[in-house]
Amino acid sequence: MNKPAAARTRRTKPDKALRDFGRAFGGALIFSLPMLMTSEFWQLGFTIDPLKLLVFVTLAFPVLTRLSILIGFEETRSWTEDAVDAAFALLAGALVALILLACFGALTPDMSAREISGKIAIQSVPAAIGALLARSQLGSTDDDSIDAIDDKQETYGGEMFVMAVGALFLGLNVAPTEEVLLIAYRVSPWHILAISALSLGIVHAFVFVVGFKGGSKVEPDRPWWNAFLRFTLPGYMLALAVSFYLLWTFHDAGEVPIRLMVFSTIVLGLPASVGAAAARLIL
């Protein structure tokens, strides 16, 4: 038995639980810190429609469960274990949000229960994604479970799901800010067309052209547009769908004129596309 394997054998259950919690806490902290320090997120705690907040947190659970199946804290045997891990990630995310927001003075005892719970609930979702990402991105190289992630067979649906999570994560960083709408207010349809073309170009280049680690290459016997149509375009439309959902949640996108709705969705679609492409490469 080699040395790392022996070390793994000696690792007790409490040690493992402590290690998993430490990773989850660290991942939540790293990935959610920019959002925890953004005042628009604090305001959303009491301005967001409670029903939308409920939808946001409820939808997060199956997404986190699926993400746990792909890259969770540990190698699991059933989806119920992944559901438990998703709940654990949400708990870690909520704890990070509670501690950090309290440290920043964004949570005080004189606030209403709705404001406090709203602020923590919004932050707990991106933090929980970070907690789950911690395993694949921050896990040590002598960890058996990391190898298991690499060995999992890719599927088209799985790739699209990972792209959607990437779009959700990076889109979440930007969606509540006023700048998304400000850009949409200022620009012409031609600017929006350019942003859309740029977003598509970035997704395709990141995944297929520039040769990033984890990227793909177009097979020489097939034209470039084959991969573009089957992977890049659906990935981009998925990023736009995620962007629209985020704008609906944070800015009432369904209640603004259609022109502004389209413009702001495509504007937010740029960071969401970058997130989708990056997730496709990293995860």
Binding site: Y156, A227, L229, F231, V256
Partner: protein, 140 residues
């Protein structure tokens, strides 16, 4: 076909197994739906780019039904932008002969949208001589 560098290349030879054929069909269905939606988006953007030239905001205020709350009268109003451009920092001023006036500032009023506000006056509902008007705005 695209394959990832880290994984084993997928067999795409003519004798594809049924599962792979189904997978490829799903990929092409997703491609067709995405292409249709994207083309619709491009047609829409080109259409408004060609046929909806930039204009100016056109702002108007409509006063709602006043209601009494404690020693004050709350007067709701709708601010409508029926123009073709967004107005920023829109100041709506209101006055009343008996209880003075005040301002409400709206950060943005996009073209074709309505924003709602409320002005608070001292006094009672019998004084209905409220005057509401847009004082200023700027381009975003």
């Amino acid at each position: 076909m695209a394959t990832r560098k880290k994984t084993k290349p997928v067999n795409r030879e003519p004798d594809l197994p049924t599962g792979a054929q189904l997978g490829e069909k799903i990929e092409w269905v997703a491609a067709a739906i995405s292409a249709f939606l994207y083309l619709a988006l491009v047609v829409y953007l080109v259409g408004i780019g060609l046929f909806s030239p930039p204009g100016a905001p056109q702002l108007s205020v409509v006063i709602g039904e006043p209601r009494r709350l404690g020693g004050a009268v709350l007067v709701p109003f709708d601010l409508t932008n029926s123009g073709t451009a967004t107005a920023a920092d829109v100041v709506v001023s209101a006055s009343n002969q008996t209880s003075g006036g005040g301002d409400v500032v709206f950060a943005y009023v996009p073209a074709g949208s309505v924003r709602r506000g409320t002005m608070v006056f001292r006094g009672d509902k019998s004084h209905t001589d409220f005057q509401f008007f847009v004082t200023s705005f700027r381009t975003p």
